[in-house]
Symmetry: C2
Subunit: 623 residues, 2 copies
């Protein structure tokens, strides 16, 4: 029961909810003028997708007839039908283009349409349960999308967990009610981190030292009422979170200098309020001027910038926007969102918040387990402490049954209040004191309480650490990465537009394809040898021994964003082609796998390869 009813409340993405409503505001500007157009667009898209499927099915039928050596008349009829379907498809494309394109160029919507068509057709993602007509807001990642996602997560682990020596934990999605109560999920929808409850263990694991960071990758759920915008608004998503625990009195960071010279688009609170736009600021300057609250927060902003741009996010369409005072929780010291611009506008993909001591304090209160850190002094310190000692006998005589309430109220006084009382008692001998739990004021005399400053030796300082929390919406980052990586270029004959994803090798779903130029046992054996060497080295690759023209095979591989293609056109040497430049070099068959490995793993650049090996003219192989 407990598990069943509460599960969907365990959403750890309040940041996202907030961001979503912010986007809604932005987008409502467009919605009234474009809703009729959206309906037409929707039906044209559906028609285009249907035509595309029909063209593909008919193409298959033609090939089957040819392969089966069917009568010429049958084949001719099928080819004619195929051409008719292609014409119909082109027509729908034109209609769609005309309602979307405003300035004659490729409009934002047409661009998205082309990217999304390619993504869905090549199974980067698929609406979940498609054969049951799909479920809005739930997507499956198909093979290339799934590979991109695991590459993004592997790079996240390398960039954050490994390089920063973070403690990664792995917690269940299922959260019992009491934890949600403590986190405020039951009473009010706030953020939770399934890590805070483990603080004590992790602090011990880290040798009781601060700072340290814990990291977690997990699934989060949201009961999204009307999911839309593809991968951006979904009911279930992967969240990668870091909780960096730091001394509130010392938020410096030892590696801060490694990022302080970075310069990128920042959008501070003040610029937003005064109607200015984001501007390029050097991170070190933003920290030293106090625009960014502290070094550690600044350090993580810099690391997130490096993470996103190394994945392939365009630095000119990435900005760090500071939360306005009213967007931030009252306890937060500062908060910045990494926002990425895509065809839907600026999308919040990473939140980087200094949440102060709020979460640890809340869990301390509810669980009764003190989630605190200790700083041992190198030598004991003498501190002056205010000690309030109620004289219970006198209080009992005066207040009888209400004695306990008065004692508690006296002990709960803040330092200022107690000092005021001490002064009043010393000068007047008595004063009026409000006891909230009794709902009235009572008279306290100087016999009833002693208030003294005492000197004490302390060996350590006990405090609740502050938490800096970078939190990554992995699906959103991946969708923006898809858009930033996508482009179209004309085929060699110039008669069609070909789709390309310019993924860096680190995220490309397949790193290399291997093609025998023609169907021939000797070439196939070389291709299989190279493919096997790549696999053994852990380089994902795909061998394509179909008789399709090499130009078409390159086009297929470009659509999947495969950075390198090896073509076997002799028994002793092969060509390696780079996706974006289409440049080719000639390499010994024996060496091909290790060259691809080096350039894929980042030990060499394509430029290094280009300057090392003889160039190969594409004319002979590419159509």
């Amino acid at each position: 029961m407990l598990l069943r009813l509460r599960l969907l409340l365990s959403v750890r993405g309040s940041i996202f909810s907030a961001a979503a409503s912010f986007q809604r505001t932005q987008h409502s500007l467009f919605s009234s003028t474009s809703s009729a157009m959206a309906a037409t667009e929707e039906s044209l898209r559906k028609a285009l997708s249907d035509k595309q499927s029909a063209v593909e099915a008919q193409g298959n039928a033609v090939r089957a007839l040819k392969a089966a050596a069917a009568p010429k008349a049958d084949i001719d009829a099928a080819v004619q039908a195929l051409n008719a379907l292609k014409l119909e498809k082109t027509d729908v494309e034109r209609q769609l283009q005309s309602i979307l394109s405003s300035d004659g160029g490729l409009s934002r919507e047409a661009f998205r349409q082309a990217a999304v068509n390619t993504l869905e057709r090549r199974l980067f993602y698929i609406p979940s349960f498609k054969i049951y007509r799909g479920v809005a807001g739930l997507y499956d990642y198909g093979p290339p999308g799934c590979a991109v996602k695991s590459n993004v997560l592997a790079f996240w682990r390398q960039h954050f967990v490994l390089e920063e020596n973070m403690l990664e934990v792995d917690c269940p999605c299922v959260t019992p009610e009491v934890v949600l109560k403590a986190s405020g999920h039951v009473d009010k929808f706030t953020d939770l981190m399934g890590i805070f409850v483990n603080f004590k263990d992790l602090y011990y694991y880290n040798g009781n030292k601060l700072p340290f960071a814990a990291a977690q990758i997990g699934q989060a759920f949201r009961n999204e009422i009307s999911p839309r915008q593809g991968l951006l608004r979904v009911r279930e998503f992967t969240l990668a979170e870091i909780e960096h625990f730091v001394d509130p009195d010392d938020k410096s960071h030892p590696k801060y200098k490694e990022v302080s010279e970075l310069e990128f688009l920042m959008f501070p609170r003040e610029e937003q309020m005064s109607g200015q736009s984001a501007k390029r600021i050097r991170l070190g300057e933003a920290v030293s001027k106090g625009i960014v609250n502290n070094e550690t927060l600044g350090y993580f902003i810099g690391r997130v910038y490096l993470f996103l741009t190394r994945l392939g996010i365009d630095k000119d369409r990435l900005r760090f926007r500071q939360h306005l005072a009213n967007e931030m929780a009252h306890y937060a010291a500062d908060c910045w969102d990494a926002e990425i611009e895509c065809s839907y506008g600026w999308i919040e993909c990473v939140g980087i918040a200094d949440r102060s001591a709020y979460d640890l304090r809340a869990h301390t209160d509810k669980s009764g387990v003190p989630l605190v850190a200790h700083e041992k002094f190198s030598e004991p310190k003498e501190v002056e402490k205010l000690v309030i000692t109620p004289v219970k006998k006198e209080l009992g005589l005066a207040f009888k049954g209400s004695q306990k309430n008065v004692v508690e109220a006296l002990e709960a006084m803040k330092e200022k209040e107690a000092l005021d009382m001490k002064a009043a008692l010393e000068s007047k001998g008595e004063l009026e004191f409000e006891v909230c739990t009794l709902g009235k004021t009572v008279t306290i005399t100087n016999k009833m309480v002693s208030i003294q400053k005492e000197k004490k030796k302390e060996h350590q300082r006990v405090f609740t650490p502050s938490v800096i929390e970078p939190s990554f919406g992995i699906g959103r980052i991946i969708y923006c990465l898809f858009e930033h990586s996508f482009y179209m270029r004309p085929s060699k004959a110039g008669d069609e537009q070909l789709n390309v994803f310019r993924f860096p090798a680190v995220v490309a779903p397949i790193k290399c394809t291997v093609f025998p130029l023609v169907q021939n046992k000797q070439y196939e054996d070389v291709a299989k040898y190279i493919s096997k060497s790549l696999t053994t080295a852990g380089i994902s690759n795909k061998i394509d021994i179909t008789g399709t023209s090499i130009g078409k095979r390159y086009a297929r591989t470009d659509e999947l964003g495969v950075p390198f293609a090896i073509t076997v056109d002799s028994a002793s040497s092969v060509t390696i082609r780079e996706r974006d430049s289409k440049d080719q070099v000639r390499v010994d068959a024996e060496k091909a796998a290790s060259v691809v490995r080096e350039v894929t793993e980042g030990h060499k650049t394509w430029q290094d390869v280009w300057s090392t090996f003889p160039h190969h003219s594409s004319a002979s192989t590419e159509e």
Copy 2:
């Protein structure tokens, strides 16, 4: 609503439920005699864990006092308290040992106790929501456990997805009701694969060719009533599944020869029924004798064997047990479980089932989308087909409103039934025919139906592929791996037992630790340089610059299963120590990271390193 109520029903682990009841039967043999003992054991374990915490806390206090140069009397008192606590702990250990140990050696339970103590103390895993007193059946993986889990999953991807060119997909945990209905989860608790619904897309992605395999790693949930046995019986677990789609008429496998010479423990149905035990069988023999149903199933059994033993599972405590006829679903052709023996008995960790065409047929029926494959003939084939043509006019006259039911029943006849009807109608002119949907028998005359064999040319064969499904319970594999990797050895002084996990490098949570022998800036700089080189190469490592004795630092690192430790004992050269042999070699500081990298990534063995570099006597560094 739909999402909320059904979520916990989307359990994809029927295999596990079946296995669990099987284990229950085995274990009930012990339960009556040992339940009282279990209660004592439980309380002693609790007491031991409390004492352990107390000893650690007091140890910390002593160190703090020493660091703070507290008065000698204070320190002495604290040390005395520490010694008293240690004695109490030893006493509890002895009590526990005496109730557990039967043969004087380390009993099964004592062994488990020692392993689990180490696992929990070093945060391999933690009961979830521990500060809220934990939730039975839910565990968090702490830092080393989380690293082991991600290494196991990365190796699974390399061994299966990459090496077999599988199509990996990533689907949500959340499943809508209609899908569960189709899979039988709503009406009856059966297996689901959250991949089947994507068959059509994946078949297309694979160029409409068989065989191909899809793979998926996901979370599954189970409303376990009384979770126990630590990581073995949990409410939420990670399942890694493969669906290999194959032509039912050709279950050969191109890479079968790569595994057919493997020999390992198998436990065929017949041996189980006749009370024999598992025996070593060559896989090729099991397939050729028909003990294993087909080559593809045999191939996956072999690949699973390699996967588990390369992870570190002891081959003598691993067996493949065939399902008995009554354990298998009626549609399954054959099913084998990889069972691993641990202190809880034989635990089913991987199921490898030939599920025939069941799942694709069920989803075809419910969704109306044909999930079928096509085999194109190289030339059209002439086939004889039985054509049943009900004569609707005659049937309408005879049966009026019931006509439709009779027509459907006639069309649904199997070939044998139709041929019998044809013979009866030709000889007698009529026969009695049962129409199930009418609940009665009707008289069919030879005017009402025509049954003819007709010759037809077919260009392709359309069929539902069979599915071979290996399905991995990742948490169970990890728990068994923990037990198989754990051992204890005496400290050098012989006064205590030290814990070691002998993880192979591929799964070790941290591959290497780096220690400066003494606290010294020069040594620290060398250590930091080596650590940074390892990190850049993607080798997880931990630097320990505390002043603790090197022997203690080795012991800490052995408890985490770290295979290699680099000790900086000069500015120019360092030692590299191997965990299990404790052997050390001396290597140039410059080369240390690359040596560790080569041996960690499997390019070299420790034996290679040992025969290349000068040996270093441990006497000088290890205590």
